[in-house]
């Protein structure tokens, strides 16, 4: 049985471990804190599996490779909600919706009635929206915990001390791998979690705004995750300004959020290469899986599959990068 080490227990590392187990490998995952938690940037993710929406700014490979994500997570036993994504603008920014519609495939335009049918609690607040039915979302923390438990019961060892290299190593350490991948940089994202019993959303909602874009991802127990900030910085400070922007945008989406409980504020830096596309690369017996940027849960399944395939039969898949 082939032995393999995985460095990093974030979303990339866990997905690679799952693919290795699928190939019958004996896998050990090394991470200074070998369980999902606030030390890794996957913890702070939105969990939107939204390849079409991402194509507003991301390149074609992200859309293409992101298609398999929802099915992959479901096959791991993770609860995936396939209700699509809703895209909205406030009154005076309507033209942002036209632009988004021009650039993003797979959407339907909704009028007020169509919107009310999908999201009754937004009835009367917007007269037009886009619905992208082919998208999905999951709860990132639940997904990470589930995957880790599943891997453990499949015999994967999770270890804090990085042992001696033995066989192939899959380096999935994110920004910590800057010692080996100097092109990596951090792109800061900030998020907040609110709890409200007064509003129910069935799917992620993206509010397009020239200055304060927002997404709201509904989670279980009346929780809502707010996100969207993107700052060229690798500091992890939670800034007042970002939180103000997120909360104001949520309030503009629906005033009921003004009465919500502020449960959590978080910030982390996401690993990205200069083209904001992920990369697979090889240095000796180490295969790097990195640069997932804002597409961790969307692209980790495809990257993990490609990384393991490349290791087994030395193919050069999409996102392969020669140094």
């Amino acid at each position: 049985m082939m032995r393999a080490r995985v460095l990093g227990a974030g979303v990339a590392g866990l997905c690679v471990a799952a693919e290795l187990v699928g190939q019958g490998c004996n896998v050990t995952v090394f991470d200074p804190v070998p369980r999902p938690g606030p030390h890794g940037c996957s913890w702070w993710a939105g969990g939107m599996l939204a390849p079409f929406c991402e194509s507003e700014t991301a390149e074609a490979p992200v859309v293409r490779q992101g298609q398999e994500a929802a099915g992959w997570w479901e096959r791991q036993g993770v609860a995936v909600t396939r209700q699509g994504t809703l895209v909205l603008t406030l009154g005076r920014d309507r033209r942002e919706l036209d632009r988004f519609g021009r650039r993003v495939a797979g959407h339907q335009t909704l009028d007020a009635e169509g919107l009310a049918a999908l999201e009754p609690d937004l009835d009367g607040r917007f007269d037009r929206a886009l619905h992208i039915p082919g998208e999905a979302h999951l709860d990132p923390r639940a997904a990470l915990a589930h995957l880790r438990t599943r891997l453990e019961s499949a015999g994967v060892a999770f270890v804090a001390e990085q042992g001696r290299p033995e066989g192939l190593t899959f380096d999935c350490r994110g920004l910590a791998a800057r010692d080996r991948l100097p092109d990596l940089r951090g792109v800061k994202g900030e998020m907040a979690v609110l709890r409200s019993a007064d509003i129910r959303l069935n799917r992620p909602v993206r509010l397009l705004h020239p200055r304060f874009p927002l997404y709201v991802v509904p989670r279980a127990d009346g929780l809502f995750m707010l996100g969207a900030t993107q700052i060229e910085s690798d500091d992890r400070k939670r800034s007042v300004r970002s939180v103000l922007e997120l909360l104001s945008a949520a309030y503009a989406l629906h005033p009921v959020f003004g009465e919500a409980e502020l449960v959590e504020i978080g910030a982390d830096a996401r690993p990205a290469f200069p083209d904001n596309l992920p990369r697979l690369s090889r240095q000796g017996d180490t295969i790097h899986v990195n640069g997932l940027f804002r597409h961790g849960f969307l692209l980790a399944p495809a990257l993990a599959r490609m990384a393991v395939e490349a290791a087994c039969d030395r193919t050069r898949p999409e996102f392969w990068h020669d140094d």
Partner: protein, 256 residues
């Protein structure tokens, strides 16, 4: 074109924010031949200098960097940010923004003059983001500015030159002051018009960064800027009401 004694070979300046990725940003710069890149300092700086990786990518563009005080709403904030920028980028140049109105991002004329004076006395070479107001322009020149950056329209709107009369007046009042139309441009034709009117250069960001194909749009602006400058030097005809055919009519069977 000389700005504070430095020869700049391109009349197009580009901002570095909001691109889909640093690679797209670099490609846009390559296709535009822009000579100056503005770079925002405030949110990315902080004690840890968390934006260093991105700034290194911007430095690699090989163009002259003009740090800005974008997002500053007071004189004190703008002055502090300028000082931080000088330290970070090792330049006395600063594009000075003091925002007076949150919704329109209109400059605060009073704060702008005060900050310009403080920074000039501190050895900075100030590029003030201003309106087309001639009185304000006069005060900024008094405060030590040698370049002016009047807006075309509010930042990020893409509305083009919204007060052509005001911009013409400003250009005519200070014929020897280098002026860069900054902010509000959405289309290359608007940039061409600014150059046709005798402005020395244009600075834009959103129009390129948020285009579907930023690199192509950057090149489109570069060509428009070149066309506008050529036209300005070519002494354009005056508009007139009387139609004048450009081919002679004599000898044609025009009575048929």
């Amino acid at each position: 074109m000389q700005l504070y004694g430095t020869e700049i070979n391109s009349r197009l300046m580009l901002g570095t924010a909001q691109y889909p990725s640093p690679s797209v940003l670099a490609e846009a710069f390559r296709r535009s031949d822009a000579g100056i890149a503005t770079v925002s300092v405030r949110r990315e700086a902080g004690a840890e200098r968390g934006g260093a990786a991105f700034w290194n990518l911007v430095r690699d563009l090989g163009v002259t960097l003009l740090p800005n005080t974008a997002g500053c709403h007071s004189v004190r904030e703008a002055v502090t940010t300028a000082q931080m920028a000088r330290e970070l980028f090792d330049t006395n140049w600063i594009k000075l923004e003091v925002i007076g109105h949150a919704d329109t991002l209109q400059p605060d004329p009073f704060g702008l003059v005060e900050a310009a004076r403080i920074l000039t006395e501190d050895g900075f070479q100030v590029y003030p983001y201003t309106t087309e107001d001639v009185v304000l322009a006069d005060r900024l020149l008094d405060a030590g500015c040698e370049v002016l950056m009047p807006w075309g329209a509010p930042i990020g709107t893409g509305l083009g030159l919204t007060n052509i009369y005001g911009l013409r007046t400003l250009r005519a009042q200070f014929p020897d002051v280098p002026m860069v139309v900054d902010a509000g441009l959405g289309l290359p034709s608007q940039a061409a018009m600014a150059l046709e009117m005798g402005f020395d250069a244009v600075l834009l960001n959103t129009a390129v960064a948020k285009a579907g194909d930023p690199a192509a749009m950057a090149e489109a602006f570069a060509r428009a800027v070149e066309a506008g400058r050529l036209a300005y030097h070519a002494d354009p005809m005056e508009p007139r009401d009387m139609a004048a055919p450009s081919t002679p009519v004599i000898g044609k069977a025009f009575l048929s």
